[in-house]
């Protein structure tokens, strides 16, 4: 199960809506081994495409060095689908390389850049095998909302 706080959940959806019709992508980092997604890091989709996403290689290095320095790992790796359902594509499965991460898929196909509900689903992708999991959205505490 993925447990994620409301403000991070909302931030992922806002990013996906903003970048629609291109795919949006990013991570939520958290302390290594904690399984707590705490630090929202939106990334630029270097592919700038409605059907593909890729972190820029220089930014990718920067992100991983930064997480390393903070003893963090990518707890959530998210991206959006803009014309299809929020389920990992064959490419997503083939390229998934963080066996400990929750892969979050958001679909903006219904409302695009506009207000309205968005499909938000989470998966484990290990050795080509996809397992969907429950998403629990918890209310943000006051201190966390001040920090965000």
């Amino acid at each position: 199960m993925l447990t994620i706080d409301r403000s991070t959940y909302d931030a992922i959806i806002a990013h996906a809506k903003r970048d629609h019709p291109d795919e949006a992508c990013g991570v939520v980092a958290g302390p290594e081994g904690s399984d707590r997604p705490e630090r929202f890091v939106p990334m630029v989709n270097a592919a700038g495409s409605p059907t593909f996403y890729e972190f820029d290689s220089t930014e990718l290095l920067h992100l991983y060095k930064d997480m390393d320095a903070r003893d963090e790992e990518p707890v959530v790796v998210y991206h959006s689908h803009t014309a299809t359902e929020a389920y990992p594509s064959r490419t997503d499965i083939g390229l998934a390389s963080e066996p400990n991460a929750h892969y979050v898929l958001v679909s903006t196909r219904e409302h695009g850049n506009n207000d309205g509900p968005v499909e938000f689903r989470s998966y484990r992708i290990v050795d080509g095998k996809v397992t969907e999991e429950e998403v629990a959205v918890v209310d943000t505490t006051d201190t966390e909302s001040e920090a965000s």
Binding site: M43, E54, F55, S57, L60, P88, S89, R90, S97, E98
Partner: protein, 90 residues
Amino acid sequence: MTIEVRIPTILRTYTDGKKAVDGEGATLAALIDNLEGNHPGLRERLLEGEDLRRFVNVYINDEDVRFIGGLEAELSDGDQVVVLPAVAGG
């Protein structure tokens, strides 16, 4: 001549769980051959035929090797090599 190579989580099955290993080589290609000797199977995860895999990024001292000669990129004692799988999909 020693080169430190940082290994991503998904490839640590080849390095007994180690986050970093030492290798040797005057070029990236030579380094990868050297690593293969101690960590069999790693080469195949980095290369496709004679080229770096499209969705594997390798950096020498923070430079993406694609911009500094690819597998022919030169290495010196004390250089740091980082391997990171692309975060990408469709």
